[in-house]
C-alpha cells in the first residue's frame, strides 16, 4: 500500500486551506460591477399574490431593479422540475403542480420568493426590499400530512386533488397477505420519521455573470453536482444553452443532499444577470436556509411484521405517508419510493413484502434527499420493528436478528435490491463484543441502584449506495444516468491532474483520490492534484451524493488510470527495449520485471510529450479518460449498539457508550472514513434526540433559527467506538461500498431502541427530547 496508498491514514491535503481560513467559497468571490440580490419572501404559508408595488423601492439609492415572478413568466423561464417520474398503483403518472422560481400568483410556503431586489450592495437591496409592498390575500393553509389528506382540507395544486402526489406500491400484496394469514405472531408499529432541516455550515449562495458579447453565462454556486446543475438549468429553464453556461462549484461548506438540487435563487440570479447587465450575487442567510433549503425525512408509517412459530419473519406490510412540502423538488419523488421501500428487507430474509407510499403536498418547505435519503427512514422502521418484536416475543433482540439474518449471497429481496455480499453476523459480533453486551444486565442493575434507567439498543442497518446503475434507475423512472467520469492528465514533467465529476464538499476527495494514484504509481500525493467543480474543466459528471464518490467516481478514475498506465507501459517498454508485458510499476518507476532496468515515471511522461521516440503509430501525450457505470448498487451494512442512561427526574438521556461496527468494503483512508462515520452518527443521533423542523397549524415555521432548532453539538454526543468488519464489494474493482451516509442511517434506531429499553415503554417518537421522554415515563 505504501505510506500514501490505499488504506493509509493520510492527513487531508485540503485542510491546510480550510484550517487557515483560505478556503474559497462562493461568497468569497467578488466580481467587478457585481450587484446583490435580496429576495422578498412570503410571510404566509398559503396566499394569493394580488399586487406587488415596487415604485418606492425603485427610487431608493443603489437600486438596480426589482423583478417579479410575472416577469419570469413573461420571459418564458421554465418552472422547476422533478427529475424522477413515479407511477401510482392505478397506472397514472405522479400529479405535480407547477413550481415557478418566483411566485406570480400563489405562494404555498413561508419563505417562497415573490420578487427580488437587485442593488449595489446587500444592505441597499435589503433596505429597498422593505419598501416593496406585496398585497397578499391569505388562503387557508395545511401543514401536517394527516390533515392534508382529509376531505375538505385546503388544496395546494389543482393538478393534485386531495393533495396527493402519488399512491405507489411495491412488492407482492397477495403473497404478503398469505404470510400474515398463516402467521404465528404479528408485530405492529406506528412511527413518525421527524422532519429535519439540513443546515450545512455554509448557506447556499450564487453569483451569476452574463457576458453580453459572448452571450455566455458563468454561475458560481454551492452545488454538489455542478454538471447536473448546468444540464437542468439549460435543458429546462430556457435561460442559457448548455455550451454557453459554465457552472463552477468552488469550495462548498457541506451539503448533506441539500445542495444537489437546483433552487429558484440560482435560476433567478442567472436570468437577472442578463436583465440588469451586471453580475448578480445572492448569499442566503441562516433564516433563508431554514425556510428554503430542502428539508429531509417527514414520514408517518404504519407497519406490521409477521413471524412464524420459530421467530422467523414471514412477511412485512408497510404503509407510509411522505410529506413533500409545497412543491416537488428535484429528486424528491424517488426518496420515499425507490430509495426507501427497496431497503425494507433490511438485513433479513423476508419472503414477502408489500409497501404502499402516499406522497402528500402540504404548505411547508419542499422535502428532498437528506443524508441517507429514504434509507434512514427504512432502517429506522425495520430496526424499531425488530426491537418491538423481540420485546413482544420475549427473545433477546440480538438473537432475533441473528435468527433472521441473510447469510447467503447474492440475495434477491422481494423489493428489487439484490444484495451482493455481506457478513451481518460478523458486524453484530464485533459490536456486541465492543460494548460488552453480555455484561449489560449487571450494568443496568448497578445504574438502577443509582437512580438511573439504563438501556441498550441495537440497530443493524443496510443501505444501497454507489448510486447507481444507469439502466436500472432509468427503468425505474430516473431522468438521468448515474455513472461517473474521470480524466487523468499527466503533465510532461510527470505531475498528475485528476479531473473528476465527483464534487468534494467535506468528503476529502482531494486526499483520497490522490491515494489511488499513489497506490498505483508509487508517486507521492504531492505530485497529484484533483480538479473538480468546474464544468469548463471537467467534461461531465454526476456529482456527489448517495455515498457514490468512491464506489463510482474513484472507479472511473481507476479506469482512466489503467488506460494511461497501459500507454505509459508501451512507452517505457519502447524506451527500455523490453516487451510491454514485462513492465511493472514500482515506487514511481517503470521496471523490466526481474532486472534492474528502469525508467522513472516523469521520464515516461516527458517521452510522451517530446514524442521524439515513441512506438510507431502512437499518438503523443499522456491523457486518458473514462466513464464508469456501476453494475449494481453497493450495500454497506453494519451493527450499531448504543448504551445510555435516562434521568427519570428530567427525562434527559446521557450516553454511556456508542459502538459502530461497519462493513464499507475496502477503506481508502480509514481516518477520513472515521470522520464520515462521526458526522453521520452526529446527524443520526441529532435526529433521534434533538432535531425537528416544526410548523404550526397555519404553516408558520416554529423552528427557523438555532435558538429553536436543536443542532447536535459536540457535548451532546458520546465518544464513538468504531470498528470495521470487511467483505469486499464484488461489484467494483476496488471492492468499495461507501461510507458517507451509514452513520445517519443506522444511528437513530439504536438510540430510540436504547431509550425505550431504559424506560420500559415502546411508544416514543423522535426526537426523544427530555420533555417527551419524561412524559412517556410518567404516562399512564
Amino acid at each position: 500500500m505504501g505510506v500514501e496508498g490505499i488504506g493509509a491514514r493520510v492527513v487531508r491535503k485540503e485542510d491546510k486551506r480550510f484550517i487557515t481560513g483560505k478556503g474559497r467559497y462562493v461568497d468569497d468571490i467578488k466580481l467587478l460591477g457585481m450587484t446583490h440580490a435580496h429576495f422578498i419572501r412570503s410571510p404566509h404559508a398559503h396566499a394569493k399574490v394580488k399586487k406587488i408595488d415596487s415604485s418606492a423601492a425603485l427610487k431608493m439609492p443603489g437600486v438596480v431593479a426589482v423583478l417579479t415572478g410575472q416577469e419570469l413568466v413573461d420571459d418564458k423561464v421554465g418552472n422547476l422540475i422533478c427529475g424522477w417520474a413515479i407511477t401510482s398503483k392505478d397506472g397514472t403518472p405522479m400529479k405535480m403542480g407547477a413550481w415557478p422560481a418566483m411566485a406570480p400568483e400563489t405562494v404555498r410556503f413561508v419563505g417562497q420568493a415573490v420578487a427580488v431586489v437587485i442593488a449595489d450592495s446587500k444592505n441597499l437591496a435589503r433596505d429597498a426590499a422593505e419598501s416593496v409592498v406585496v398585497d397578499y390575500e391569505e388562503l387557508p393553509a395545511v401543514a401536517d400530512m394527516q390533515s392534508a389528506i382529509k376531505a375538505g382540507a385546503p388544496q395546494l395544486h389543482p393538478e393534485a386533488p386531495g393533495n396527493q402526489v402519488y399512491d405507489w406500491v411495491i412488492g407482492d400484496e397477495g403473497a404478503t397477505d398469505a404470510a400474515f394469514a398463516k402467521a404465528a405472531n404479528v408485530v405492529k408499529l406506528d412511527v413518525t420519521n421527524n422532519r429535519l432541516a439540513p443546515n450545512a455550515m455554509e448557506p447556499r449562495a450564487a453569483i451569476a455573470d452574463y457576458d453580453a458579447a459572448e452571450e455566455h453565462f458563468t454561475l458560481y454556486t454551492t452545488s454538489q453536482n455542478p454538471h447536473v446543475a448546468r444540464l437542468v438549468l439549460s435543458a429546462f429553464y430556457n435561460i442559457a444553452p448548455e455550451h454557453k453556461l459554465r457552472v463552477i462549484a468552488p469550495d462548498v461548506g457541506g451539503g448533506f443532499g441539500s445542495k444537489i438540487f437546483i433552487y429558484p435563487e440560482e435560476m433567478v440570479a442567472l436570468w437577472a444577470s442578463k436583465k440588469v447587465g451586471r453580475p448578480v450575487k445572492w448569499t442566503g442567510d441562516r433564516t433563508e436556509a431554514f425556510l428554503t433549503d430542502a428539508h429531509g425525512r417527514d414520514h408517518v408509517t404504519h407497519a406490521e411484521m409477521a413471524f412464524d412459530a420459530n421467530n422467523k419473519i414471514t412477511g412485512l406490510k408497510v404503509k407510509t405517508y411522505a410529506n413533500f412540502g409545497a412543491y416537488m423538488s428535484l429528486f424528491s419523488s424517488s426518496v420515499p419510493t425507490y430509495l426507501y421501500a427497496t431497503l425494507l428487507s433490511g438485513q433479513y430474509n423476508i419472503p414477502a413484502i408489500h409497501a404502499e407510499v402516499v406522497g402528500v403536498y402540504t404548505n411547508t418547505t419542499p422535502v428532498d434527499a437528506y443524508r441517507g435519503a429514504g434509507r434512514p427512514e427504512a432502517s429506522y422502521l425495520i430496526e424499531r420493528l425488530m426491537e418491538t418484536a423481540a420485546r413482544q416475543l420475549k427473545v433477546d433482540p440480538a438473537q432475533l436478528r441473528r435468527t433472521n439474518f441473510i447469510t447467503q449471497f447474492p440475495h434477491q429481496t422481494p423489493v428489487i435490491m439484490a444484495y451482493d455480499t455481506g457478513d451481518f453476523n460478523a458486524s453484530l459480533d464485533a459490536a456486541m463484543k465492543a460494548i460488552d453486551y453480555a455484561g449489560f444486565a449487571a450494568r443496568k442493575a448497578q445504574a438502577k441502584s443509582q437512580g438511573k434507567l439504563r438501556g441498550i439498543g441495537v440497530s443493524c442497518y443496510i443501505e444501497a449506495c454507489g448510486i447507481a446503475p444507469s439502466k436500472a434507475v432509468g427503468s425505474l423512472g430516473a431522468g438521468v444516468g448515474l455513472w461517473e467520469s474521470a480524466e487523468v492528465r499527466v503533465n510532461p514533467v510527470g505531475t498528475i491532474e485528476i479531473l473528476t465529476g465527483s464534487h468534494s464538499h467535506g468528503q476529502g476527495h482531494e486526499t483520497t483520490f490522490c491515494q489511488l494514484v499513489a497506490e498505483r504509481l508509487g508517486v507521492p500525493i504531492s505530485q497529484v492534484s484533483i480538479v473538480h467543480g468546474d464544468t469548463d474543466k471537467v467534461q461531465f459528471g454526476m456529482g456527489t451524493y448517495g455515498s457514490r464518490s468512491a464506489a463510482v467516481g474513484l472507479t472511473a478514475i481507476l479506469k482512466a488510470m489503467e488506460k494511461m498506465e497501459s500507454k505509459a507501459k508501451k512507452i517505457a517498454a519502447h524506451a527500455l527495449e523490453a516487451s510491454e508485458g514485462d513492465i511493472v510499476i514500482e515506487n514511481g518507476e517503470f521496471k523490466v520485471a526481474g532486472t534492474d532496468k528502469a525508467i522513472a515515471f516523469p521520464m515516461v511522461a516527458l517521452a510522451a510529450y517530446t514524442a521524439h521516440n515513441l512506438p510507431d503509430g502512437m499518438e503523443p501525450g499522456l491523457k486518458e479518460s473514462a466513464f464508469y457505470d456501476p453494475t449494481n448498487f453497493t450495500f454497506p451494512a453494519g451493527a450499531y449498539i448504543c448504551e445510555l442512561e435516562v434521568d427519570p427526574g428530567t427525562g434527559k438521556t446521557s450516553f454511556v457508550n456508542f459502538v459502530a461496527a461497519d462493513d464499507f468494503g475496502r477503506l481508502i483512508n480509514p481516518m477520513i472514513v472515521e470522520g464520515q462515520v462521526h458526522g453521520g452518527l452526529a446527524q443520526g443521533i441529532g435526529q433521534a434526540l434533538l432535531e425537528h423542523a416544526i410548523y404550526d397549524a397555519n404553516g408558520q415555521p416554529v423552528t427557523a433559527s438555532f435558538m429553536d432548532y436543536s443542532m447536535p453539538r459536540a457535548d451532546d454526543l458520546p465518544s464513538f467506538n468504531l470498528s470495521h468488519t470487511t467483505t469486499l464489494c464484488p461489484g467494483n474493482p476496488l471492492g468499495i461500498k461507501g461510507c458517507g451516509e451509514a452513520g445517519a442511517i443506522g444511528a437513530s434506531a439504536a438510540v430510540i431502541n436504547a431509550i425505550t429499553d431504559a424506560i420500559g415503554k415502546n411508544n416514543l417518537e423522535m426526537p426523544a427530547t427530555p420533555d417527551r421522554v419524561w412524559r412517556t415515563i410518567h404516562a399512564a
Binding site: H692, T703, T769
Partner: protein, 266 residues
C-alpha cells in the same frame, strides 16, 4: 443591520451624556443580545454606545459579606474569578453554564439583567440571593428590578454599574439547559442567607419571568434537604409551554432542579 453610529465611551458619565444626545440610543455591552437583534433588523438604534471598555465597569470584588460584580464583567470572568468562587461558588458555577464559550467571553452581567430574558440565568441568582442592582442613579433591590418578560425598573438612559450580592450561608444552582438555545429550560437557584432566610428563584419557567417559589422556600425553611421538596406541589398554571417543554414538565423541573440545587449547596 441598519445604519447606526458607534461610540466607545470611556466613562459612565460620558456614556450617559452620549446617550442623552442620541435620538434613539442604545447601550452596548457584550453585544450577545443586541447585535443579533440589530442584524435581524428588529432594532434600529440611531447610536450605539459601547460600555464594554469602561474600566470602572469591569471587575469582581469581595469585601466583607458582599460580592460585587461590575456591570460589564463578562460571564467568563465571573466563572473563573477566585473571589466569586470563594464567596459564592454557586454564582461562579452559574456563570460557567451560560451559553457557549463565545457568549461567555463577551456577554456581561449588566447586559443580561438589563435584557431580563425570562430564561436567563443571572436573574435567578439575583432574586434568590437578594442582590442589589447599582446604577448611575440609584440602588434597586432585585425584587424591584425585574418586572416581567424583558422588562426592568431601569429608566431610559440609566446605566447599571454593578450588582452586589450578600454572601449567603449556602447556595446552589441547578439548570436544565434548553436543548437548542442553551438558556434555562428551567433552572433554580436556592440560597440560605446568613440570617437563616431561605430564598428560591426559578428562571425559564414562568410566563412572567424570573420568580420566587414560595412553596419550596417554606419546605426548605422547615428542613433544608432535597427530600423536603418531595411532597411540594408546584402548579403548572402560568408556566411557559413550548416545543421544548410543556408547562407540566417545567413544573416538574422546578422541583427536580430545586432538589439538585439543594444537594449541590450541601
Amino acid at each position: 443591520m441598519y445604519q447606526t453610529t458607534y461610540h466607545r465611551a470611556s466613562s459612565v458619565d460620558e456614556a450617559a451624556s452620549l446617550f442623552a444626545k442620541g435620538t434613539e440610543a442604545k447601550f452596548l455591552a457584550g453585544g450577545q443580545t443586541l447585535l443579533p437583534v440589530m442584524k435581524q433588523r428588529l432594532a434600529s438604534p440611531s447610536d450605539v454606545i459601547d460600555l464594554g471598555k469602561i474600566k470602572e465597569l469591569i471587575g469582581v470584588e469581595a469585601s466583607g459579606d458582599t460580592l460585587t460584580i461590575k456591570a460589564a464583567t463578562p460571564h467568563y470572568d465571573v466563572a473563573t474569578s477566585d473571589a466569586a468562587k470563594k464567596a459564592i461558588p454557586a454564582l461562579a458555577y452559574l456563570a460557567s453554564l451560560i451559553g457557549d464559550p463565545a457568549v461567555r467571553y463577551r456577554g456581561t452581567i449588566g447586559g443580561s439583567i438589563a435584557n431580563n430574558d425570562p430564561a436567563a440565568d443571572y436573574p435567578a441568582a439575583l432574586l434568590a440571593l437578594g442582590a442589589t442592582v447599582k446604577t448611575n442613579k440609584r440602588s434597586i433591590s432585585a425584587e424591584d428590578f425585574f418586572k416581567g418578560l424583558f422588562t426592568t425598573a431601569l429608566e431610559d438612559g440609566e446605566i447599571i454599574t454593578a450588582v452586589s450580592f450578600p454572601v449567603p450561608q449556602k447556595a446552589g444552582y441547578a439548570k436544565m439547559r434548553h436543548p437548542a438555545s442553551r438558556f434555562a429550560l428551567t433552572a433554580v437557584f436556592v440560597a440560605q442567607t446568613k440570617s437563616g432566610e431561605v430564598r428560591v428563584a426559578a428562571t425559564g419557567a414562568s410566563q412572567s419571568g424570573v420568580m420566587r417559589v414560595g412553596a419550596i422556600e417554606a419546605a426548605l425553611k422547615a428542613n433544608w434537604s432535597p427530600s423536603a421538596i418531595d411532597g411540594v406541589s408546584v402548579s403548572a398554571s402560568n408556566l411557559l409551554a413550548d416545543i421544548h417543554g410543556t408547562a407540566e414538565y417545567r413544573a416538574n423541573l422546578i422541583k427536580v432542579m430545586a432538589q439538585r440545587a439543594v444537594a449541590a449547596a450541601g
